[in-house]
């Protein structure tokens, strides 16, 4: 084969300063992703007692990231497996989808047994939501998505990027620091029939406030009347109460009531598989044939975004969920994570009450899941970062997973300091 000789034509070799068409002059700098900004600010802070409560990632008692036992064992198990085998990747995908669907809807419900679901592995929760948003735009081009106010900020970006109009419905009641149920019901009622709603099935992000079972039943019933489509973003199954079935109870209420549900599942936080981008998108269908068709469309849409999902995470997740022993280990570990978070909530509340603060800190232990949403003002959030080196997202959301017995007292004092003048 010939070697390439660079044919030199000096008059063509423009240097960068010599008037080459500059295409990207109009490209402005994007605003930093708030979470990444927090992490960067934290990393560059030299203060020894600094605390990072920004990222919703579990940390152990020493404040270190945790690789779960079940994951380590699964890694060993798949070590040396030929993942290129044209059989293993599709088989692992199918196992993953089936196990995910059983996990969230229940093992023995008819919709699972009769395979009336269209399920595909997805790039974690973000990827699953985006896949659904693209599907929604493709097949329901006139529809909008209703997001709770507030919600994970990326939800807005996801649907906007998929060119689906975004609306919000009332969720958080700032004075009560609880659920604004009446306004929520009103919004659901007033939305046009057949609207698409995104719901957090447990451990609402960022508020940690979940409806009660009765409230879920009412919402489900109203959804039926209005023929709304319930889309659940399940990111914390097991991490909210420690019990995977209990955490899925809202979805199961809807399922029993006959809704054909859509569900995005993420295992990044509950299994510590952050970097692998493993999750699942499932849509319940009227029958098996429809499920096959809908699945083919999901795969087609995914094919033009990333081709196929990354195999390593798929094999890990399907190994863990598909193996009874590994799955039991996971159940125990996720319960332990949830318990530690719950005990940190209790300690924090205790410490805050001990500071002599006049405010009511009940909501710390009432809120569920990884996040504490104290309803701080931007100034208070700023003070916490600048004066006390405690970092969180700009909306004041704090990840309790970053709280340890060694920093809880410091944190309580810091929060007391910025809130006591109120």
């Amino acid at each position: 084969m010939w070697r390439l000789q660079l044919i030199r034509k000096p008059w063509r070799c423009f240097s960068t300063s010599a008037g080459v068409r500059r295409w990207f002059d109009s490209v402005g700098p994007a605003a930093k992703d708030p979470l990444q900004a927090v992490t960067e600010a934290f990393n560059s802070d030299p203060f020894p007692q600094k605390i990072n409560l920004g990222l919703g990632a579990y940390r152990d008692e020493q404040g270190k990231p945790l690789v779960l036992q079940c994951v380590q064992q699964a890694e060993e198990k798949i070590r040396g497996c030929n993942l290129l085998d044209s059989v293993s990747a599709p088989v692992a995908s199918a196992t993953l989808v089936e196990e995910c669907v059983k996990l969230v809807y229940g093992r023995s419900v008819n919709v699972v047994k009769e395979k009336r679901f269209a399920g595909v592995p997805a790039l974690s929760g973000t990827g699953a939501c985006r896949l659904f948003a693209e599907f929604q735009r493709n097949f329901f081009p006139e529809s909008a998505i209703y997001l709770p106010d507030p919600t994970w900020t990326n939800h807005h970006n996801i649907w906007a990027n998929a060119h689906v109009p975004v609306r919000t419905f009332h969720y958080y009641h700032p004075h009560l620091r609880g659920l604004d149920f009446a306004a929520l019901i009103d919004d659901v009622k007033n939305a046009p029939d057949g609207s698409f709603f995104l719901l957090h099935p447990c451990a609402h992000n960022p508020t940690g406030i979940d409806p009660t079972e009765d409230q879920w039943s009412e919402i489900s019933n109203l959804f039926k009347m209005k023929n709304h489509f319930p889309f659940f973003d399940m990111a914390y199954q097991g991490l909210a109460t420690g019990d995977v079935d209990k955490d899925a109870s809202s979805i199961r209420i809807f399922l029993e009531d006959g809704h054909l549900i859509g569900c995005a599942q993420s295992f990044t936080k509950t299994m510590g598989l952050f970097g692998h981008r493993t999750g699942c998108l499932s849509l319940l269908c009227a029958d098996r044939d429809q499920a096959v068709r809908v699945k083919s469309q999901l795969q087609r849409i995914a094919g033009a975004i990333y081709g196929s999902p990354p195999v390593h995470g798929i094999v890990l997740l399907s190994t863990i969920l598909g193996d009874q022993a590994l799955k039991s280990i996971w159940f125990k570990e996720v319960k332990a994570m949830a318990s530690r978070i719950q005990s940190m909530r209790a300690k924090l509340r205790e410490r805050l009450e001990l500071t002599g603060s006049s405010l009511n800190w009940e909501h710390i232990t009432k809120q569920v899941g990884m996040f504490w949403f104290p309803g701080l003002t931007p100034e208070q959030v700023d003070r916490l970062a600048k004066e006390f080196h405690v970092y969180m997202t700009p909306d004041g959301r704090m990840s309790m997973a970053g709280v340890t017995t060694s920093n809880v007292r410091y944190l309580a004092n810091a929060v007391h300091e910025v809130t006591k003048c109120r």
Partner: protein
Amino acid sequence: WLAQQATHHRLRTNRLSPPFHSSLLLYSSHLPTQAAENSSSSIAISPITVESRHFSPSHSQPSSKGFPRYQLQPPSCIPSSVKSDFFPSSLCFQMASSVISAAASASPSACPVTDLLKGKAKLGSGNVGSLFIKDKGNPFLNSKSCGRITMAVAVNVSRFEAITMAPPDPILGVSEAFKADNDEKKLNLGVGAYRTEELQPYVLDVVKKAENLMLERGENKEYLPIEGLAAFNKATAELLFGADSPVISEQRVATIQGLSGTGSLRLAAVLIERYFPGAKVLISSPTWGNHKNIFNDARVPWSEYRYYDPKTVGLDFEGMIEDIKAAPEGSFVLLHGCAHNPTGIDPTPEQWEKIADVIQEKNHIPFFDVAYQGFASGSLDQDAASVRLFAARGMEIFVAQSYSKNLGLYSERIGAINVVCSSSDTAARVKSQLKRIARPMYSNPPIHGARIVANVVGDPALFGEWKAEMEMMAGRIKGVRQKLYDSLTSKDKSGKDWSFILKQIGMFSFTGLNKNQSDNMTNKWHVYMTKDGRISLAGLNLAKCEYLADAIIDSYHNVS
């Protein structure tokens, strides 16, 4: 009447709460054949059957009595002239379900169902809401108009009814047909994945070593930043442009990790749609099938430039230049860096220079898809020559990379999008915008493949081994090309020039066979390939070259 029917079977509850839940299947017992006259003001029901299934959490089986069926006959109150001829079944569903829901929610005496049936209460009006007023148990509907009543009872009619099956992937179809074939002579030349001489998938040794290293280190699984693994991004840009390239030293490249070639192309497509609205992408005819899907879904318009010349089984260079020249100024020109897919036909270095000339003349933006660096010729640098030629001219360029083939990491989805800019400041801004596109797509990219690449490229010993393995893979393909060519020329006495097999490069070869001839390859010779005449040499071994030669000669000469 309907309400009575319904309530007798315990449908009366405004909230179908556990343990009882009923799902009603409603279907027309016959299809309507003609429009009814006079149908505007009255509502008729064709005979429909209601099937009720009882579910409860504790019973996963339907009730032991089976599914009770109700035959709903048009009540006698409806004039017979209206009732039976035609009623769209979809409206039947709505009608029936609405009525059932009305029945379900109201006590029988409060339910003037016959009014509904006589058309006094039209669907879609607030009148129907009056059916609910008296029922205390239903707090969500009051005397104000509640709007349209739609299916308040869960029915198994999903909103996905109209969704059809997506078109099957043509290449997957080939593999499936191959699997189903029991003939022992069968040969799968559809697959675009490297196979060994034994026709097995191949995990590179360096990949196994890198994975072992990673396991031993016990690295955590934390999120990567949105732009991906820094070590990977650095390595991939240097690999592509050359570590001593000014674009690297001047920090003029915005690189972010993407999900293999597909994911990287999609990021670029979204950037194009956002910042170059209306700009077209010119793609070669033919090109990799997924290019069109990616640009379609990203809403980026595209058109084709001539590329493959069936007469010569080579490059239609004049046509290519003409079409690039004719495109509106500021178009994006999608170029395959090396080993064009599906033809295997690459421009010569002189031709690349001319292509660069015309692109600069027209102020187009070159957009390279580099999926085979190192895999085409066996040399990483040689395969990057086209990209480096353009970069050396100071042009602003898009380059998508994939490590699927050259590191065998197909299913790990590792690649990158690189944007060469006029300044480092611009590169920083472009990078920030690419991150903003990635975040709502998948938040951050998968870690495993990135770590493998970073480990292989970052370790001199592993890097050297990788280069050797790539040479081996490329060498095997060159070997089968040679053997195939030799077999063809020795067996075919017609004097046809088969040298295009040697001139083409990479995994694929366009044989010049048309659809009928390709079908003959499959049907008669059990050689599986795509209908455009493309064969994947990665699926061929030396042992089968003669057989393949026979098949090609037969198909070419004896089939039209």
